[in-house]
């Protein structure tokens, strides 16, 4: 379980960004999470609360947007979604493809800063 160390990285990143902008605190951190990031949403939410303790982020919320896997299908020659992480095939034509365009995200996209 490495979600606590990931959560601590999120808190560090958010603290740094808030400080840079002169904000006294943070209300919300927005995170984009891909299914191939290797991070489990529930475990991360649980760890986040612990990681926030005694930091300027204490009491803040982590809002996670789970994004789908997008591949480049070599047959359709288009961006396509896949059936599941257990079957990396184009959802339209069924062709397997290793060419992943999106789905590994573990990214802080935005924050709501306390005034």
């Amino acid at each position: 379980m490495h979600e606590l160390s990931i959560a601590m990285s999120i808190v560090d990143l958010a603290c740094e960004e808030a400080e840079m902008r002169g904000a006294p605190g943070v209300d919300v951190v927005y995170l984009k999470l891909g299914p191939l990031s290797g991070v489990v949403k529930e475990a991360l939410l649980f760890s986040y609360e612990i990681a926030c303790q005694q930091t300027p982020l204490e009491g803040s919320k982590l809002l996670i947007e789970e994004v789908p896997i997008v591949v480049n299908c070599p047959v359709c020659r288009e961006r396509r979604s896949v059936q599941s992480t257990q079957s990396l095939c184009c959802a339209i034509c069924g062709t397997p493809t290793p060419e992943i365009l999106e789905g590994r995200e573990l990214m802080v996209t935005a924050m709501e800063l306390r005034p």
């Binding site: 990031s37 095939c89 996209t109 800063l113």
Partner: protein, 229 residues
């Protein structure tokens, strides 16, 4: 005047520090002409036996070394040192994976130009290592015939992050009624196109093919260009 919360755009990768270090390591490996290969597997997949055999066989013809991630309770490094290759232990304590900074620290003072192959044995774990780039050129995922054919479907992320899959303990395949066709199908489902090799570190079956495969991958090998991705 009321003070509203201020929404700001950030767009930063949470593991950016790790990614920056990993990129620097990868560049260092490339400049030194060393092929860095990381190994990931479950605790019982025979990763250390496989690496010991590989180091022993390669040691006679190439300059090889290994970094070994050990939890506080383990000592795979001592076992690997029997291969005569330089082995550096990375004690991760309670941390269940290696990070790029640990690899960087372990390589402090090393002259990588002296090496042909560097193996990085991750902690036995099929979950956490998938999130961390170590700067390796290739990631090998190991799966033993005793682990069950559905392992790739249970841990798709780590299999997806790998470049090569190695089926280990092939000597036990018959005893456990290992279904190789199904296993290969499951591996391909989560990582289409991945190369799959099968071997036994115990009997040595499949090891010659594996060594030939490694030699072809090496940047200083004249055949490397055709195989490397």
């Amino acid at each position: 005047m009321t003070l509203e919360p201020r929404l700001v755009e950030v767009r930063k990768n949470v593991l950016k520090q790790n990614d920056v270090l990993a990129r620097a390591l990868r560049e260092r490996f490339r400049e030194a002409g060393v092929l860095a290969i990381s190994l990931v597997s479950s605790p019982g997949a025979g990763k250390t036996a496989f690496l010991e055999r590989t180091l022993t066989l390669l040691h006679t013809r190439y300059k090889v070394a290994a970094l070994v991630g050990d939890l506080a309770t383990e000592n795979d490094a001592a076992r690997l040192a029997r291969s005569q290759a330089p082995v550096q232990q990375i004690i991760t304590g309670t941390v269940c994976h290696l990070e790029a900074a640990m690899v960087q620290n372990a390589l402090d003072g090393w002259n990588l130009r002296d090496l042909d192959f560097l193996f990085i044995e991750n902690v036995g774990n099929l979950v956490c290592p998938s999130s961390y780039d170590l700067g390796e050129d290739l990631r090998f995922v190991l799966l033993s015939v005793t682990e069950g054919e559905d392992k790739p479907l249970k841990y798709p992320t780590i299999f997806n992050s790998a470049d090569v899959a190695i089926i280990t303990k092939s000597d036990l395949a018959a005893a456990v009624e290992f279904d190789e066709v199904l296993t290969r199908r499951n591996i391909q489902a989560v990582r289409p196109g991945i190369q799959v090799l099968k071997l036994s570190a115990k009997t040595g079956a499949g090891m010659p093919d594996f060594l030939e495969f490694l030699e072809r991958l090496h940047p200083r090998s004249h055949r490397a260009a055709a195989v490397a991705k």
